[in-house]
Symmetry: C2
């Protein structure tokens, strides 16, 4: 059993992570957007070097490793964006990275992860337990697990977006609407923006953070959970470390449909000239569908832009 929840993430940790991220990554643009006649903002983290916010948490985690830990390498489990964040950071720090990815991850994410120099180990989704695959690798070869969301450094690193947003806006946003998978980003934002309402947005049927928040305990995904185009937002369950941070801090979860996500991708294409992948468009989908309040101090996070070309083409041509 690998222990990833060695400590709780803190607001102080988010501030330290923000400084570490700022030292290596320029702030992503905060761009104006009009939603139903209301002017608001989008935080374009799809413009990060790896095309997603995941670079924040991965960089903070890996740059916080001891020399001894770095020498043993890192192992991560990811559908693709965390994979690229870990691979990018590992290459920069000279650390060996092994990433466990689903066999049906988007080709672009598999290719990008390999191009960044990481070793990719595939597992069957659904079916195989990806955490077990990672645990076996670590038992065999050693290394530090860099969990995609259930890790205090990763949570703090993702939270750097909140402090970056406040600096760009010149004040705390009224609310931050965020795409949510396992809850690493929303937990980080909740710590980094204590005066803002943080809304986690998940795919219908995969709203495991929203359901867990409502139940007050971890609710796993149903074995017969519906398909979703949001490949980045399909964790089997959130983790206690995420729920502990979110409980009492986060707004209730919101769930969006595939059709709403596609409409958001088309909106970003036509009005923002940005490429947003399905999982990266969930927060915008909720705002456009009127499922979260929007005012002039609202920030909607665009969390990823690693879109499969064929699927994106079908979506913007209107037949996807």
């Amino acid at each position: 059993m690998i222990q990833t929840e060695s400590r709780m993430p803190t607001a102080e940790g988010v501030r330290a992570a923000t400084a570490a991220v700022a030292a290596i990554l320029p702030p992503t643009p905060l761009l104006p957007v009009e939603i139903g006649g209301v002017k608001a903002w989008v935080k374009a983290d799809n413009l990060q070097p790896i095309g997603s916010f995941k670079i924040r948490g991965a960089w903070w985690r890996l740059s916080s490793l001891t020399a001894e830990e770095r020498a043993s390498g890192v192992v991560a489990v990811s559908s693709g964006n965390h994979a690229q964040g870990v691979a990018w950071s590992a290459r920069r720090l000279g650390i060996k990275a092994t990433i466990v990815m689903p066999h049906n991850a988007p080709e672009v994410k598999l290719a990008n992860t390999r191009a960044l120099g990481a070793e990719v180990v595939l597992y069957q989704r659904p079916g195989e337990d990806r955490d077990a695959v990672a645990a076996r690798l670590i038992e065999q070869n050693g290394g530090t697990l860099v969990h995609a969301f259930g890790d205090p450094w990763v949570i703090e690193g993702q939270g750097s977006a909140a402090i970056e947003i406040a600096a760009q806006l010149g004040r705390a946003p009224s609310r931050i609407v965020a795409c949510c998978g396992g809850g690493g980003l929303t937990a980080g934002l909740s710590l980094g923006a204590p005066d803002s309402a943080v809304h986690p947005v998940e795919p219908v049927g995969w709203d495991m953070v929203g359901q867990s928040l409502a139940a007050g305990r971890i609710v796993p995904a149903a074995p017969d959970a519906p398909k979703t185009i949001c490949d980045a937002l399909q964790p089997l369950a959130t983790k206690l470390i995420n729920l502990a941070v979110l409980q009492g801090r986060s707004e209730p979860g919101v769930a969006v449909t595939d059709a709403e996500v596609r409409a958001a991708q088309r909106f970003a294409f036509a009005n923002l000239r940005l490429v947003v992948e399905p999982g990266g468009a969930a927060a915008l989908a909720a705002a456009l569908a009127g499922k979260v309040p929007v005012d002039e101090d609202t920030v909607i996070m665009l969390t990823g832009g690693n879109a499969d070309p064929a699927a994106f083409a079908a979506t913007i041509a209107g037949d996807g």
Copy 2:
């Protein structure tokens, strides 16, 4: 005969335009890009509110009009992006705008221009003389012509990008690679960045600025000029005011093929997560094709992002 070339644009005018633009538009992002292993920069003017750099020149021209001129309205001729810049600025300043556009302009540009409150008058392309249509409108109804490139204020306004880039980079770029239609942007950049090499990039067969620079006189487009997907870069000829600025300041012109432009659009989609229209991708196409030098202080301008969805889908799916 309408006189648009009433004075020459100046470097001082570019500085004044930069202040006027900065007062109303936040700087567009300067983003890192890697071209053939060399790190360089893209200036993402496709992220302007109207999706193109044309908002710069239009704003400086319209905000410089006298109260009397404002009351009479403005008339512009444009394939779509200048149209939106003029319409956006006119609405903000409470000026009536009439825009002469080709009947076969991309639907997205016609729709956006009308949505911004401008009256659109269509002409046949090829065939009708669009400048004559505009002249007739002004004879009948009055108003000030806002030429898309042959106007000193428009040139100065476009040049604001150069000063914005230098401020973001912290120094003068070694070179700026710019998509070029009539030469308004490249003329403005040449004035605003006197210490940088400015490279105009045009579609093959429509390189009227490059040919005019080489010939030392205005060379009009051939009647049998080939088709190009760069709808924004098809002026019938540059104007004397542009050539006078560019001669002795600009680098020689570079011409790119449709295939090179599509490859640049795909590169921007996959690596930058940005939507770039064909005419907005010409400079990037030249850099990727090795037709201009690229070093770490090179800035490549992405000038527009108003892409037709069906055409963009075909391009990124690889069958366009």
